[in-house]
C-alpha cells in the first residue's frame, strides 16, 4: 500500500508496513496508526524487558518509560530511513540495562568476589528479587523453569539470547546495539547456549534422582 500526499487516511492499517504507520503518526497525527504499531510490537518489547528484569512491576515501568520516550522523541530523534522497531528496541534495551545497572549499584559490593565459586559478583547477582516472580504470569512449569534458567545467565549473554529470540536481530545489529564486535556477540550466544544446556542437564538429573 502506498501513501499519497492527500489528507486521506487509510483504514487498513494491518496491511501497512511499519514505516507507513510511523509516517501517518508523525505527519498526520494519526493515533490509530500508532495503535497498530503497538499491537504489532508491544508483546515482543514487553517480553524482552520482562525476560531481562524478571519482575512484573519493573517491566511495566520500563515498558512505559520506553514508549513515553518513543512518543515524545519520535519527531526529533527518529530517522525514518532506519527500522522503527530497531530504534524502539534500542530505547528499550538502554532503559533495561540502565535499570539493571542502577540496581546493582545499590548493592554492597564489598563481597563482590566469591572465593568458593571464584565468580564475579555481578555474574551471580539475580536482578532484584527476580526469583519466583514469573509464577505471577501463570506460566506452565517448564516455561517457568526456562525463564528461571535464563534469568541466571550473565546479563550480556541474556541480552544476546533475548534480542535474537524476540527480534530475530542479526548478530551484526546485536553487536552494534551492545557495542561489541560481531565475534563477541556470537561468542556470547555460544556461552549462553552452553550454560543453558548445563542447567537443563542438571535439572534433568534432579528429576531422574527424584524418581
Amino acid at each position: 500500500m502506498r501513501l499519497n500526499n492527500t489528507d486521506h487516511i487509510p483504514t487498513n492499517y494491518e496491511q501497512m508496513e511499519d514505516r507507513e504507520l510511523v509516517h501517518l503518526f508523525r505527519k498526520k497525527d494519526d493515533q490509530l496508526a500508532f495503535g497498530e504499531l503497538m499491537n504489532r510490537h508491544q508483546a515482543k518489547i514487553y517480553s524482552y524487558i520482562f525476560s531481562m528484569v524478571q519482575n512484573r512491576e519493573t517491566a511495566n515501568d520500563i515498558f512505559q518509560e520506553t514508549f513515553t520516550k518513543v512518543i515524545t522523541k519520535m519527531d526529533d530523534t527518529y530517522n525514518e530511513q532506519g527500522k522503527w522497531i530497531a530504534w524502539v528496541m534500542r530505547i528499550a534495551h538502554n532503559a533495561t540495562i540502565d535499570h539493571i545497572r542502577k540496581q546493582k549499584r545499590f548493592v554492597d559490593v564489598s563481597s563482590s568476589y566469591d572465593k568458593e565459586s571464584k565468580t564475579d559478583f555481578y555474574e551471580r547477582l539475580p536482578d532484584e528479587d527476580s526469583v519466583g516472580q514469573q509464577e505471577k504470569l501463570e506460566l506452565d512449569e517448564s516455561t517457568s523453569s526456562l525463564l528461571q534458567h535464563i534469568s541466571e545467565l550473565p546479563e550480556e549473554q541474556r541480552t544476546v539470547v533475548m534480542l535474537r529470540h524476540y527480534y530475530e536481530m542479526p548478530f551484526k545489529e546485536i553487536a552494534e546495539l551492545t557495542d561489541v564486535s560481531i565475534n563477541t556477540a556470537l561468542g556470547r550466544m555460544r556461552y549462553a547456549l552452553i550454560n543453558l544446556r548445563k542447567k537443563f542437564d542438571e535439572e534433568h538429573e534432579k528429576e531422574t534422582n527424584k524418581v
Binding site: 503518526f25 497525527d29 495503535g35 526456562l146 544446556r197
Partner: protein, 194 residues
Amino acid sequence: MKNKDTNSISFIFNEMDPSEEVEFERELRASNNLLIDVESLKNTKKQLDRLPQINPPEHISNSIRLLAAKKAASSKRRKQFTVYSAVAAVLVAGFMSGIYFYDSPEPNQTADQAIMGGGNNLQQLVVPAPSAGKDLTPWVDQNEVLRFTDQFQPGENATFDTVFRNSFQKLTPVTDPVQSRAYQRNLQLTGSNQ
C-alpha cells in the same frame, strides 16, 4: 574464542554466506566432535522456542495509547496554530502594503511634502502660504542682532495697531534694577516702525 566456535553459532542461526556454509558442512562431515557440538547447541536453541510472548497489562497499554492520542492532538493544534499564524501574517502584510500604496506620494510631490503628511489638504493646513511677491531676507547688524523687514499691506493697519498695542501693554517698567541685574540678558528685543 576460536573462529570455529563462532562459526557453529553462525551456522545454527543461518547467518553464513552460502560459500561459508558449504565449507562448514564439509568440516562437519570431517569432524565428529564438531558435529556433536553443533547438534547439542541446536537442541538447546530449540528449547528457547518455548519462551512465551508476554503482553503488557491492559492499563499500561491504554495509558500509552492515551499519551499518543494527547501528543497527536497537541501536534495537530500546533500545526493549526502555525497555519493560522501564517495566514494572519500574510493578511496583515497585505493590509499594510495596501495602506502604503494608497497613501504613497504622487510622483510630482517633493519629499518634504510627503513627510509632512502625504495629503495635499493636510499640507495646506500646516504650512502657511507664502505672501505673494514678498521675499523675507534676514540680516545681522553690527550689534549681532538678527533683523528682517516686513510690510503690512494697506488695509492691514488696524491689525498692526492691535498687535502693537497688545505687545506694548505686556511690557512692565523695571522697579528693582539690582534684581534685574541678576538675570543675564541674552536676548535683545528690537523693533522698527519701518
